[in-house]
């Protein structure tokens, strides 16, 4: 069953069947209703049949009989048509027309057996004459009186009234054009009968034939109605379930109809249904037109309703159907506009200086107060007092606000690191003044501490630089003499080995001193930084080119990957030293025969440069520790290197306003740098 749900042919079949069952159900339900109304189920339909014979058809036949009699009074007119209609062969209805005394004036035929008869009195106009004339009156009252008089005395009165200057004297007269008939009124009684045996093929015979059919089918009709109803309910349920499913599409599929805003769709459907109804109303005057109209319009209306219901079902299944309505969108727009307005107000309030905010609020409060005072009529002696109080309070408040603003500015300056700012103490109120003095002494104290710190940092750098200069001279001697020793014939193999060690260690010492000076200068910012727009991808290629041989030596395969814009704000020389340190690290600590990944990719307005390699040694220390000076990946410290490389790289990166981050995941060592891009990805160009 559920496999049928998404099938298009199943849906169309179900829709057609649904319309058919509803079309069958409506007339059978109407028939049942009529039969119940006429008690056909209790008396076998006798009352219903009698109802049909004594109803509209009987009344119209009676009317025809009266017309027949009226026509027969006028000798100039032929009654052949009526004679034919009311002959025994053509009519099951016979009648007698009698006057007040009971004398028969007219009859067609008579029969002893009849099913139903009824007598009715009629007043008819004989010797009828038609009048029409136009009259003028002096005033409206006279005209009305005349019209009323005509209505009392004559028949079929019809008139039209207007004002016109008929005699040309400049005054308007009241004019009426009146039409009426005059004649004598004759009272007659018409008695109509319906023959027992409906032998003639007239309307009585047809009506009773269909009525009897209906009565015979009365129990079958109930069964049909029930079956149709059940089928219709089942098909309806099937259609609702299948709504939103499409063959070959998982989940709920919305077709183009379902994407129309729902309220718009509803409005369109309502309009279409109303058009159907109006058309139906237009067609109701002829029996054939009613049938054709119903046969076309009822299925159409059903189709429209079903499409609406199914579309709604699909939308409801897809969830949040109300979002696809024009009302919702309009409300959303309004909400966005309101929040924009609120933001605007907020940012205006934020941008306004404190003193203005306070003044505005104070002004508003004062105006409200004044209005209240005026409204309650406290004008007398209180008003001047109120004004004096307001003026005094305003002065006090504004002074306090001004003080507050100064304090605020002072606090802000200290927070921003501008410690030399001191708050102006002029015109300060007592408590504000004390607070300002405290703030000033805080900034003074901090300034002293910062100065001292700067001085000690500077001294430290100087010390390291000087000490390393002094160390370099003896190292020069050591390096040179070790080199000379190597060239001497030392006679013993051991001696040669020892010289090798001396050579290696003196080289390490040399490198260590160089790194130490560099690290100290980098961490204190004692290096000139020249920030410009450099092509990072090119820089990486250049740096990798420098390391090609060393990487090959360790059988490291380097994979470089850069994508998108790679121009960054940095100092090319310092960047090279950062990459130099990182690549040298890779050569020293990457596992031989593995791959090394170097990538540069833009993310928002930053370029992320990543170095990834597999460590030769287990990295059982945290990335923070690894960046500390003199900490090295191999705790044995057996390899070359000072343990300063990463620290230098980090300091140099930070000097260029970049960020440096180490990520250690098992044996995966990852250094991630980020620098601001020169050209923002969305196309905003910074000055170069």
């Amino acid at each position: 069953m559920s496999s049928l749900l998404p099938k298009l042919w199943a849906k169309i079949t179900a829709l057609i069947l649904f319309i058919l069952t509803v079309l069958l159900f409506i007339p059978s339900a109407a028939g049942i209703g009529y039969l119940v109304f006429t008690d056909a189920y209790s008396d076998g339909g006798r009352a219903a049949l009698k109802n049909v014979l004594s109803g509209d058809i009987f009344a119209s036949s009676m009317g025809n009989a009266v017309d027949y009699y009226t026509l027969s009074l006028d000798p100039g007119k032929s009654t052949a048509h009526y004679k034919e209609t009311f002959s025994e062969e053509n009519s099951n209805f016979f009648f007698t027309v009698t006057d007040e005394s009971g004398a028969v004036l007219l009859k067609n035929y008579s029969s002893p057996d009849y099913r139903y008869s009824r007598s009715e009195n009629y007043s008819i106009l004989v010797n009828e004459k038609h009048h029409s004339h136009t009259l003028s009156f002096k005033n409206y009252q006279d005209r009305w009186n005349y019209i009323e008089e005509c209505q009392e005395r004559y028949f079929n009165v019809d008139y039209s009234a207007w004002d016109e200057d008929t005699d040309g004297d400049g005054n308007f007269e009241c004019v009426v054009n009146i039409e009426y008939s005059s004649g004598d009124v004759e009272e007659i009684t018409v008695t109509g009968y319906v023959k027992d045996e409906l032998s003639a093929p007239d309307r009585f015979a047809t009506a009773s034939f269909w009525m009897e059919k209906l009565i015979n089918m009365r129990f079958l009709l109930i069964a049909l109605a029930i079956v149709c109803f059940v089928c219709a309910v089942f098909l309806f349920a099937f259609l609702i379930c299948s709504a939103g499913h499409k063959e070959g599409v998982e989940g709920i599929h919305l077709n183009w109809v379902d994407r129309i805003p729902f309220d718009l769709y509803l409005l369109f459907m309502a309009f279409a249904l109303f058009a159907c109804y109006a058309l139906m109303d237009e067609l109701r005057h002829g029996a054939e037109e009613i049938i054709i109209g119903a046969a076309l319009l009822v299925p159409l209306a059903l189709l429209l309703i079903m499409s609406l219901v199914m579309s709604f079902a699909a939308r409801a299944k897809a969830g949040e159907w109300w979002k696809n309505t024009i009302i919702f969108r309009v409300l959303k727009l309004i909400k966005r506009f309101l929040s924009w307005l609120l933001d605007l107000c907020k940012s205006i309030a934020r941008a306004m200086p404190f003193i203005w905010k306070l003044a505005l609020i104070w002004l508003a409060i004062s105006i409200i107060e004044l209005l209240c005072i005026l409204a309650f009529g406290l004008i007398g002696a209180l008003l001047p007092l109120w004004f004096i109080e307001k003026i005094l309070l305003t002065a006090l408040l504004l002074t306090a606000a001004m003080n507050m603003q100064r304090l605020q500015k002072g606090g802000h300056e200290i927070a921003a690191g501008n410690l030399s700012h001191s708050i102006d103490l002029k015109h300060m109120l007592w408590d504000f003044k004390k607070h300002a003095e405290d703030l000033n002494s805080i900034s003074g104290g901090m300034q002293r501490a910062v100065d001292e710190r700067m001085k000690s940092e500077h001294l430290k750098t100087e010390l390291i630089t000087n000490v390393s200069h002094d160390i370099k001279t003896p190292i020069t001697s050591i390096v040179n003499y070790v080199d000379l020793l190597k060239k001497e014939n030392l006679g013993s193999e051991k001696a040669a080995e020892y010289v090798q060690v001396l050579d290696r260690q003196s080289m390490r010492l040399k490198k260590l001193t160089e790194d130490l000076v560099e690290a100290s200068k980098a961490s204190t910012g004692n290096i000139p930084v020249n920030i410009e727009c450099v092509n990072c991808s090119l820089l990486l290629s250049q740096a990798i080119g420098e390391y090609e041989d060393r990487l090959n030596e360790r059988q490291l395969e380097l994979i470089q990957d850069s994508d998108g814009p790679t121009e960054i704000w940095a100092d090319g020389k310092l960047m090279w030293r950062v990459f130099d340190n990182l690549l040298s690290n890779v050569c020293k600590y990457a596992l031989e025969g593995t791959r090394v990944y170097v990538s540069a990719e833009p993310r928002e307005d930053q370029l992320i440069i990543t170095f990834k390699n597999i460590s030769n040694y287990p990295l059982n220390i945290s990335s923070e520790e690894l960046m500390e000076r003199f900490v090295r990946g191999d705790t044995s410290r057996s390899t070359e290197g000072s343990g300063l490389g990463l620290s230098i790289a980090k300091s140099l990166t930070e000097l260029q306003n970049g960020t440096f981050e180490l990520i250690i995941d098992g044996d995966l060592f990852k250094a991630q740098l980020s620098f601001p891009l020169c050209v923002k990805p969305q196309g905003q160009t910074s000055a170069n």
Binding site: H469, D470, K472, T473, I475, T476, S477, I478, V479, N480, Y481, D483, L484, S506, K510, E514, V517, V534, N535, C536, S537, L538, L539, S541, Q542, A543, I544, G545, E546, E548, Q560, A570, G572, K573, M575, W576
Partner: protein, 230 residues
């Protein structure tokens, strides 16, 4: 042979340098202070001076300024200061080269030889129109040869083309793609990496210390350039 004056307050360094220089056949004069160096300069016919900057009394910079008043012999500064500003200062007041402590004896010898050769043999030689010269680097476009301080250097054809292009446009920075386009006359593909390797190879061949090139410089993040004649 040539006379070389070595001036440093550290006697061990002077002795070591003397051993190396003597082994190469130079005659070495030793001085422990700037004053002594000036005295020897006045007395002897010195062809090259190795001068330490940080010395008690008269320092290297002052000594050199004095020497430059009367002589234009090559001066190589020995310095423990590795900052760029010190090097620039040294070169500006008249040094021909510098070498930072602790130095590698091989590098020292190479620099000494280079300076001597340029000073003694090449200094005033007439230059043929097909020859380009920048510092000690000489490129003869007719003979398709390159010499550095007189020593022939073997370059691959591409390396030769790159060097010639950069020497023709000395002082200008070229991006790898630009060099590739002009030298290969082709659309640059992966030019950055290709050029990085080629330039490093050229540097290894023409520079005494490829990590601190004097002629063919890497402009990080921009490209490469050949220095103009000093």
């Amino acid at each position: 042979m040539y006379n070389i004056l070595v001036c440093d307050d550290e006697k061990d360094i002077v002795s070591a340098v003397e051993i190396y220089l003597s082994a190469e056949g130079y005659k070495v004069f030793k001085a422990c202070s700037g004053r002594e160096a000036l005295a020897i300069m006045a007395r002897e016919d010195i062809h090259l001076l190795l001068l330490d900057i940080m010395m008690p009394g008269m320092d290297g910079i002052t000594t050199m300024t004095k020497i430059r008043e009367s002589s234009n012999i090559p001066v190589i500064l020995l310095t423990a200061k590795s900052e760029d500003t010190d090097k620039i200062l040294g070169l500006n007041v008249g040094a021909d080269d510098y070498i930072t402590k602790p130095f590698n004896p091989v590098e020292l010898m190479a620099r000494v030889k280079s300076q001597l050769r340029r000073y003694m043999t090449l200094g005033s030689g007439s230059i043929k129109p097909s020859v380009m010269r920048i510092g000690g680097v000489e490129l003869d476009d007719n003979a398709k040869t390159v010499t550095v301080d007189g020593d022939p250097v073997t370059l691959t054809p591409k390396e030769y083309d790159i060097l010639r292009f950069l020497m023709q446009n000395a002082g200008t920075v070229f991006s790898p793609s630009e060099i590739y386009r002009r030298v290969w006359e082709d659309i640059p593909l992966n030019a950055d990496n290709t050029m990085a390797v080629h330039v490093r190879h050229i540097r290894e061949k023409i520079e005494i210390n490829p990590a601190e090139p004097r002629y063919l410089k890497v402009v990080w993040g921009k490209g490469y350039k050949m220095e103009v004649n000093e």
